[in-house]
Amino acid sequence: MIRRLGTGLAVLWAAATASYLALLLAPGDTVDILVGDGPDTPEIRARITAEWGLDRPEAVQYLSYLWRLLHGDLGRSYQLQRGVGEILATQVGPTVQLTFAAAALGVALAGIIAVATAGRGRWARGVASAAELVAVSVPPFLIGIVLLAVFSFTLGWFPVSGADGPAALVLPALALGLPIAGVLGQVLRGGLERAIEQPFAVTARARGLTERALVARHAVRHALIPAVTLAGWFTGTLLGGAVITEVLFGRPGLGRVAMEAVTGRDLPVVMAVVLLSAVVYVTISTLLDLAYRVIDPRIGG
């Protein structure tokens, strides 16, 4: 556990440093960003440089960045006249809502379809796997566009955008959740089908178990093992997909902040987002690692 924590911290440090370096290497300099498309005179530049301490050597700036990080200070946005921590704090909510809704939707859909079709007739499986294939193959933004065009513009069932109310969450969560349902569905069904062909499954049947009981008591846990190994992919897809989904649906959230910060090269915000996603990743992979041990006691017993 201590080791994991150490590794997690190392990963965080590396992520922070890597993104710091990356943005340092980018063309143009910070003053340009702070000037924006407003008036630009040497005098204005000099004042900005002094204000942000950009005249210090890069190493000093980096160290002071790390130092501030250690104190939980994420710095100030270059573009939005505010502290980064405050910006993120206001944006976490909608993104959490979106990603949780999408994850829940994806997991539920995948689970239902997998359990309903595993080991069933050719047709049911064919249709399910074709649906999964398409869900996996359509870019999330295309799903979003289609959902918007059909359910919002044409049928008017769901609001076009925004973050208020559960109705506004339906379409974005679908757009983000469907690809997840596709991949997860494939993996779960594959796992279930493999599990019910194992010798232990034959033994269980030989005890007089029904197929449903076999799936519920034995196969599901086995199918969860490969599904859990998808955790990293899963988190990445959710966080990355949130960028596109939020932009497309005009939802507030971290994804959109990240996108705007990247295009505007708002260094402090970008780095904070990078750090945050690293924290999320490390946390989730640790949690799932623990879950993995619960599901599969063979590991590290």
Binding site: V11, A15, A26, V138, L142, V243, M259
Partner: protein, 291 residues
């Protein structure tokens, strides 16, 4: 020889069994994807054969013309032919995908092999480096790369490749561990072969086994990723026809010109579906060959 092996070819050429060959599974699992991929390859290599229209020729007076006689897939907001742009777009989208996948595979194989063969500390360091690289969601990493290097085709390739390297590196590393400890590598040592000879002769070829499958499926992923980046305006710059960028442009016209979004959308989806189907076929063949 097994008796059925002799009966096989005869049966295959018997005309009576032809209808049996074209089952839905074969049709959707093999014939249709193969046909589409051939068409796609043609669009990439020689788009001129599929359409004679210049994808960049703007005709503002004909902007947003619906699908019909002169524009089969309709015209976009600048009056450009959507069909021609979809066809020519294949080159951009696919070559980004291929280049990114190629780069990612090369990098992934080299790093994964290096990690798998290194002493423990170096291996651990590399493995942690893969971890760091994958702590960032693929798209966010790509955004970061694009933020550093600016939008454009080359940078999108680099971004996607960088994001996918850990996937390949991990597989290769794990595979290297397995192969390195396998019986035949040990056996080769008893024949007095040197470490280098064993790596080149046994480890590398066996490690590369899953690569064609991974790369085919990875190509699909790369196409999706690149279209996502183009959609966000990070990819090839206008007026280049690229599927993701076309979709991004079409976004503003959803209510007035559905065709502008529909056709590039279908193109991306079909491409990825067919690549995935092909990848899975390869995988089944590959798995059929090993124990």
């Amino acid at each position: 020889m097994h008796p059925s092996a002799q009966a096989g070819p005869l049966r295959r050429f018997a005309p009576a069994s032809l209808p049996r060959l074209l089952t839905p599974a074969v049709l959707f699992g093999l014939v249709a994807p193969a046909a589409f991929l051939v068409l796609l390859a043609l669009a990439v290599v020689a788009p001129g054969l599929l359409t004679g229209v210049d994808p960049l020729a703007a005709d503002p007076l004909n902007a947003l013309a619906p699908p019909g006689g002169s524009h089969w897939f309709g015209a976009d907001h600048l009056g450009r032919d959507v069909l021609s742009r979809v066809v020519h777009g294949a080159r951009h989208s696919i070559s980004i995908g291929v280049a990114a996948t190629g780069l990612a595979v090369t990098g992934g194989v080299l790093l994964g092999l290096a990690a798998g063969l290194s002493p423990k500390w170096l291996d651990e360091t590399l493995a942690r480096a893969f971890d760091v690289l994958s702590t960032l969601p693929e798209l966010l990493l790509a955004l970061l790369v694009v933020a550093v290097t600016g939008p454009g085709t080359g940078n999108v390739i680099l971004a996607i490749a960088l994001a996918q390297i850990p996937n390949y590196a991990r597989v290769i590393r794990a595979q290297t561990f397995v192969v390195r400890r396998s019986g035949f590598v040990e056996q080769a040592r008893t024949f007095g072969r040197s470490g280098l000879a064993i790596t080149a002769g046994h480890v590398l070829p066996n490690v590369l086994g899953p690569i064609p499958v991974l790369a085919t499926i990875g190509l699909g992923t790369a196409v999706i990723a690149s279209s996502g980046l183009s959609f966000l305006g990070m990819g090839p710059q206008p007026p280049a026809a690229e599927w993701g960028a076309m979709l991004s442009e079409a976004r503003g016209y959803l209510r007035v010109a559905w065709w502008q979004a529909l056709f590039p959308g279908i193109a991306i989806t079909l491409t990825v579906v067919c690549l995935t189907v092909a990848g899975r076929r390869l995988q089944r063949r590959f798995e059929g060959r090993t124990p």
